[in-house]
Subunit: 196 residues, 2 copies
Amino acid sequence: MQEIERLVQLLARLPGLGPRSARRAVLMLIKRKESLMQPLAMALAEAADKIRTCTTCGNLDTSDTCAICRDPTRDQTAICVVEQVGDLWALERTGVFRGRYHVLGGVLSAIDGVGPEDLNIAALLARVGPDHPVQEVILATNLTVDGQTTAHYVTERLEPSGVKVSRLAHGVPVGGELDYLDDGTLATALKSRQLV
Amino acid sequence: MQEIERLVQLLARLPGLGPRSARRAVLMLIKRKESLMQPLAMALAEAADKIRTCTTCGNLDTSDTCAICRDPTRDQTAICVVEQVGDLWALERTGVFRGRYHVLGGVLSAIDGVGPEDLNIAALLARVGPDHPVQEVILATNLTVDGQTTAHYVTERLEPSGVKVSRLAHGVPVGGELDYLDDGTLATALKSRQLV
């Protein structure tokens, strides 16, 4: 049954699945051959064939120059900078931001040996040049040490362009209870308190 | 990006993955297009095409009459009855049992409307007839109410054949600490105590 074993091994490499759950997944796939296994095989092959990275912003789409960069109804004056495509998806799900994005493809990290040249920063600088409509760059990197270091670095690199740079608000999450919050978040929320 | 959305939806149906981890999985797949996404698409298509159910025992394999049923080195006098193919795999991993298997395909369940005719029981009875070499049937259904009901039912149905019927030992799991065991397991282990 090397076909099954191979399938288990491949599935076990996905995040969130280990060998045991991969085995369960394979059994489920075999049970639902027509409704799940064959459609999944086709969807994977199709996505592998069609999906490419937008050379403008780093987003993933079936067309280079992705749907967001092409959409004329989106605000061309604002760019939201994120670490990964998954962050872009998360922001898109909120439906609040109607500008465009820029995906860095990671964060600066001395430990992992990731330097500025490894990130999609040069392309960002090219998008805020004098003949471009961008007025504001919103930094939406994660609130981790590396994410904040990266935001800091990008801010410095953007300075000569004169573009306005902002970052996401930090504070108590919606629905968050103070008693369960970590001290860092609580301290930030207190320092960034706003007049009502 | 309907290709990505479709892939997320299909992956989210696998056990152990929800929408969020499916999204992470898709991003990982796209990043490892050559090493993971395309091989997975091919492995799925191949498995969907080749894997079938053994008409003798209910195991999954690329050939009907599976490799275990065909293997002449395996003991033909013992059949181990399991609920699902996953249980067969778990027993095979131990390497202890060298007989053959019979997969019921489920358990009797009044709530889920599963009756004897929905399980692979008739085929089991056919395998223990007078002109067959089987001397012992080992019941390895789960220690759940339904699993035990099913074992009981199968035992009754096997009675006329005169074959020896046994079941897996129940007791303290290897490495198990008494203090953390449920009362039922502990009571069973006490009742089934063995002389040393």
